[in-house]
Point group: C2
Chain length 328, copies 2
């Protein structure tokens, strides 16, 4: 995109109106201003780089925008919060067309409209490689944030949705011999347009304590973060980790890889007191979310800070990277 087009482009991405009454000042001054009361501010940033985090071979511009914002909103959900607004910093190489850039913003806006989020600012600069960096502002009622460090002994470990779908979808897109895209449309869409679990988590306010993470890097990584932050031992039963029926088309090894270290499903993994499990199931049903108990939290001085994967009668340590003896 040329410089002169850039001014038009910046004008063209400005929203005609703001969805949130909390937006006091949006785009068009030195900075944006947002107002709310009785709520804490949540802030998170996520950056995606062309040919590192996505490739135009597997992801079109619309989905680059959609997925980048989804990743950020998922972080807000993992804190128990509500997304409110976002600012976008984009580095644009000359080779990108104005149409493709508009598609990125249309992808973001498509998801933003679901949550009534507003684009309130940004910076548009030129460079060698497309870099899309989104900062999301969210709110959470005072003292009601969900931390990784809140797991306690005998908590039930749960996940939302099915795990490994996005990694399977990406595999299909990368596999040049694969032609039956129609059969795999569901997992392809899970890669391209993941759904952050905002609605479900915002209905959980009656549950006092919950450790929580979103699954951006695979459950091996996320469970290890909870184990470390809470200084507890997480025991996950591999056969309880829910997966989509389509994964049955693939080898056990592929499924293990996708379910344990796949990531980018943007589902939630958390722990709740056993007493709250029935309530959580009820909330899940009401918000139309599948939840599955996949293990238990133990307090074992020798193992605290680590995660163990149960496969029948054997128990293997699960590294942050997803490496386990089950593999191969």
């Amino acid at each position: 995109m040329r410089l002169l087009e850039e001014f038009d482009f910046i004008d063209s991405i400005q929203p005609a109106y703001y969805r949130q009454s909390s937006v006091v000042k949006g785009i068009g001054d030195d900075a944006a201003i947002v107002r709310y009361t009785n709520e804490d501010t949540i802030m998170t940033v996520d950056t995606m780089v062309e040919n590192v985090h996505f490739s135009t071979k597997t992801t079109d511009a619309f989905h680059i925008g959609y997925r980048a914002l989804a990743a950020n909103i998922s972080d807000i959900a993992a804190m128990g919060g509500k997304p409110v607004a976002y600012v976008v910093s984009i580095v644009i190489p000359d080779s990108w067309s104005s149409h493709a850039l508009h598609e990125i913003y249309r992808g973001m806006d498509e998801l933003a409209s679901t949550y009534k989020m507003d684009l309130i600012g940004g910076d548009t600069v030129s460079g060698k490689q497309l870099v899309l960096s989104i900062t999301v502002l969210g709110t959470v009622l005072k003292g009601q944030a969900r931390y990784r460090s809140d797991a306690l002994e005998n908590d039930i470990i749960f996940v939302t949705g099915t795990i490994g779908d996005a990694a399977c979808g990406l595999h299909i897109l990368l596999d040049e011999s694969e032609t039956d895209y129609e059969r795999y449309q569901y997992v392809i869409n899970r890669h391209r347009m993941p759904t952050p679990r905002v609605s479900f988590i915002n209905h959980c306010s009656s549950i006092e304590r919950m450790a929580l993470n979103d699954i951006s890097d695979g459950i091996s990584n996320e469970a290890n973060e909870i184990a470390k932050a809470s200084n507890k031992t997480l025991i996950i039963d591999y056969h309880q980790v829910p997966s989509h029926p389509l994964l049955a088309d693939f080898t056990l090894e592929q499924c293990l890889d996708w379910k344990i270290s796949g990531g980018e499903d943007f589902e939630l993994i958390g722990t709740v007191p056993a007493n709250d499990w029935a309530t959580l199931q009820k909330i899940a049903k009401e918000t139309n979310i599948k939840i599955t108990a996949i293990g238990m939290v133990q307090d074992d001085e020798k193992k605290n800070g680590t995660v163990w994967l149960r496969d029948g009668n054997t128990l293997n340590k699960l590294a942050k990277s997803g490496y386990t003896h089950l593999r191969g």
Copy 2:
């Protein structure tokens, strides 16, 4: 930097403590949480790309960090606010050493400590070209934000500090024939370590109305933004625009260019009612800031939305780009 080093690097940039009591959760969960009351949230993002916004030839890593954060804080000042916290997204090429990256963060922290700001999050990814994108969170008392759109007829137009210093400093750094760096240390430092005018503007709460912009792109651009947003005519007397005595070493044409379109001084340009001018001068004196009246706001239906530069008896339209008939 290699991948394994990256984990150490992320660990090493985490602050040992938070300066602000408003930081409920800093680095180490899915997102950061900040709490304040009676104040609105200000948010701004600024992105700097290697060989576009800076070059390692003229700017060392420490100053890349310092200047990038200064640019963001200046936007908060231009809204009349206080900076509170920041998140950093950085794209790192393999060629950058871990030492240089630490210097970038040290540069940011040097300035952040002045304002008791906290680094509360970020994203560190790899790519072809260094990209440093900072999002700053600030606060402003409800209803006390300073907008570009608040200029009215007969307001006095003022600037803080001296204008064109940073552009002069960059010129010295780029001029390979120049060797007397000692003589030009002041303007070089104005380029490398600009001072956002936070303290001055935070003392202006007794002044009810003020249009305000920070000078990131030159007063031609900033004054035009005020004229357009306020739908008024700004008349600036070129000979009143204050410059540092060192600029006398250069041609009138160079000085005109630096003073009108130089930018990156991160001084403030604003308008206040004539009645408030004495108060503003008093505040400037108390906060040890130079302020200078450089013109007046007019309400002229035929000219509203534009800026005019007076040079003795002639008046020339000043384009956003800094172009004027005075030039050349």
